[in-house]
């Protein structure tokens, strides 16, 4: 069921109770969690926070912590699976689900109060209840009716039932065909804070980071992203002037981490610029120098740290980027983004924090979750976790660039009909990366392969298993991912024992030996 009133039907129920907070490993979830933690702290709601990476982790986390807990809040996890079936909770446990993974499982939607979805996405075409659920009247099927009239009625009933079943399967297929992302959960959380009259810089900032995370990976189409950001703009406008940090929306370069890097590196390792300039090819370096020359930035300046660059050059950077992008037929290199400003400090871009958080979560090993939570903080300008995350993000981007470049240069990106796929060589450090960074690589390789590149599938061998991660074609209007349902069907067809443990259905693990036949089945299916 969906919640109508955020404050009365969700937050006020939690007051005075112990809450179990299960949070997924992604930027949006971290930001949402930060906001909820802030709210819980100010209301003295005691909670237990457990990060969960997949469905099996969700199960163990719930089993370990379910004693005496009546309210469970799931952030960016659990919406796409039948919670009641998987977790087998007690009758009086209530799950509040705040998940941007779509489509939502219909059992959750039509649960009678045990599973409550906090936000209703209007874009979802959820099938009607009567079309997919029906009281079973099969009990008396065994006894064949004797009379002729009865027999006719019986046949008629069965025909109707079969018709209804085909219709249901069609509906369900259409509904679950694509996996995609809904409105960022953090936006809902910011709204909740606003309703509770507690909005502040830290909440707005967390919302801004979540919106930027979706912009960085094109998980939402531009029109939807604009709508998501709309509510945030209202909060930005309503900010009280303060002497601490403040969030502003400004035009800024769409280059991750350039403030903490040199301009040359930022361009070289930017997922927007690098594939379009085909920097992996021999002539790539020349093209980059040409771009810098067109921007009017001397190499010496471009190679030193951005913060030490000539002030004049820094000031004219945005205009130069725009002009050069047009000339080189690059996508737009500037966009409106959010900056956290603080007196006597360099501004902090939300885009940088996105990469910082993901680097901490997926590249920094255990403990990354705590650091990631700390890096979203606004209370201090210097934050050790953030510095570490930014460093890791720089290394991650450079490694992703190297990996995508090597794949393209070695022509290892195989086109298999509707999609292209490549495999990371076994034993490479990149194999241990999480799906988010693998998707960065995949998008990079897809964009670098030139026009007409469709969806890309990347395979990361991990010992005896292999992790497959698919990204949709880089079309900007439709961001839905067809790999989720396709993986499931291909697995059913070729009989591979695929583990669908991730909440993002476009990420699966399967035994390494079954990979070729699985890919064949997938190609046949999508062709």
């Amino acid at each position: 069921m969906f919640i109508e009133d955020l404050r009365n039907d969700f937050y006020n129920l939690l007051l005075g109770n112990r809450v179990l907070l299960l949070v997924h490993y992604d930027v949006d979830a971290i930001c949402t969690c930060k906001i909820l933690q802030g709210l819980f702290k100010s209301d003295n709601i005691s909670y237990t926070l457990v990060p969960v990476g997949g469905i099996s982790e969700l199960k163990t986390a719930y089993e370990e912590n379910n004693e005496e807990v009546k309210y469970v809040v799931l952030v960016n996890c659990g919406g796409t699976i039948d919670l009641v079936d998987i977790l087998q909770p007690e009758e009086d446990v209530v799950f509040f689900v705040l998940d941007s993974h779509k489509p939502t499982d219909v059992c959750n939607v039509y649960s009678d109060g045990q599973v409550r979805l906090v936000y209703r996405d209007e874009e979802e075409n959820i099938p009607n209840f009567d079309d997919i659920f029906r009281d079973d009247d099969e009990e008396n099927e065994e006894e064949m009716p004797s009379g002729r009239e009865d027999l006719e009625a019986f046949v008629e009933r069965r025909r109707q039932r079969r018709e209804w079943e085909t219709k249901r399967n069609d509906l369900m297929f259409n509904y679950t065909q694509f996996s995609y992302y809904g409105k960022p959960s953090a936006c809902t959380a910011v709204e909740l804070a606003w309703l509770l009259c507690r909005s502040g810089v830290e909440y707005t900032w967390a919302g801004c980071i979540a919106v930027s995370a979706y912009a960085a990976t094109h998980t939402r189409s531009p029109a939807q992203a604009l709508l998501d950001a709309h509510a945030l703009h209202r909060h930005l406008a309503a900010q009280l002037p303060s002497h601490g940090a403040s969030v502003s929306m400004e035009k800024d370069a769409f280059l991750p981490l350039y403030r903490t890097w040199s301009l040359e590196n930022a361009l070289k390792y930017s997922p927007v610029v690098a594939p379009h300039l085909r920097l992996h090819s021999l002539a790539g370096a020349d093209r980059l120098r040409q771009l810098l020359a067109d921007m009017g930035i001397p190499l010496q300046q471009a190679r030193q740290a951005y913060r030490s660059m000539d002030v004049e050059l820094r000031r004219s950077l945005l205009d130069a980027l725009d002009a050069a992008a047009d000339k080189h037929h690059l996508p737009r290199l500037t966009h409106a983004t959010y900056l956290l400003r603080r007196d006597h400090c360099a501004p902090l871009a939300a885009l940088d924090i996105v990469y910082c958080v993901m680097a901490l979560l997926e590249l920094e090993g255990p403990g990354g979750f705590q650091l990631a939570l700390a890096s979203v903080d606004t209370s201090s300008a210097e934050c050790e976790a953030r510095q570490r995350g930014l460093g890791a993000a720089r290394r991650g981007l450079a490694a992703a660039a190297a990996l995508a470049g090597a794949t393209l240069a070695a022509r290892a990106l195989h086109h298999a009909g509707p999609f292209a796929h490549f495999t990371i060589s076994e034993g490479a450090a990149e194999c241990e990366w999480g799906p988010w960074w693998l998707a960065v690589c995949a998008r990079w390789a897809g964009a670098g392969a030139g026009r007409g590149a469709g969806a890309v599938l990347v395979a990361a061998p991990r010992g005896r298993t292999v992790l497959l991660c698919g990204v949709p074609p880089p079309q900007r209007t439709d961001t839905r991912n067809l790999f989720g349902a396709a993986f499931e069907q291909a697995a059913a067809k070729c009989g591979a024992s695929v583990s669908l443990d991730h909440f993002d259905s476009a990420v699966v693990t399967l035994p390494a030996a079954q990979r070729p036949q699985f890919l064949d089945a997938l190609t046949a299916l999508l062709a």
Binding site: K41, S46, Y47, T48, L49, E64, N65, E67, Q370
Partner: protein, 195 residues
């Protein structure tokens, strides 16, 4: 003579405004003797010389000294009483023996009565909302926050809170728990406070 001893007594209290001294039995006795003496002399002079007004000044001076003594002793006792009151809040109903020695018998009796009254009052508190009394002496300073955020550093297992809730402490899980429950575990290095 003439309220000199009592000044010494006051000075003694003034020197240690925060701590309580040994009840100065000896000096009090001497002062009371002095007061008796002054009173006797005044009585004599007043009775003997109803007509002779020349002694009136003497009588008046003695009387002032008498009153001053009385006032200073009362101040001394009152001051000690206030200190004893704070002792009850600091040490509870049972005094440590070394502090018990510092009080006179009367003072100790007062202490016991005060202690009894306070306990009676505390027991009566909160009965309308279902509590059987509140210990007022427990949190004299309001805590900065009732709950703190902690990170579990090791796999500890289950922890039962005072209100009966059970919390599973597992490595890398974060909890928001009552401050009083966490303090021992933080000291043991099982939990880490997150600022």
């Amino acid at each position: 003579m003439f309220a000199e001893k009592v000044i010494e007594l006051i000075k003694e209290v003034d020197r240690n405004p925060d701590t309580i001294d040994q009840y100065n039995d000896e000096k009090i006795r001497q002062i009371i003797e002095e007061m008796h003496l002054l009173f006797k002399l005044n009585m004599n002079d007043a009775n003997a010389t109803t007509e002779n007004r020349s002694l009136w000044t003497t009588v008046q001076v003695r009387h002032s000294a008498l009153e001053r003594n009385k006032r200073c002793i009362l101040a001394y006792l009152y001051n000690r009483m206030k200190k004893i009151k704070t002792l009850r809040w600091e040490f509870g109903a049972v005094l440590p023996p070394d502090i018990r020695e510092l009080l006179s018998d009367d003072e100790y009796q007062w202490f016991s009565k005060y202690s009894g009254n306070l306990a009676l009052y505390m027991r009566s508190l909160g009965q309308d909302i279902g509590y059987s009394g509140i210990d007022l002496t427990e949190n004299l300073k309001p805590p900065k926050s009732l709950f703190i955020e902690v990170l579990c550093v090791v796999d500890y297992g289950k922890l039962e809170l005072e209100d009966g809730d059970v919390v599973m402490l597992k490595k890398n899980s974060r909890h928001y728990l009552p401050t009083s429950e966490c303090q021992t575990l933080i000291r043991q290095g099982i939990l880490k406070q997150i600022m």
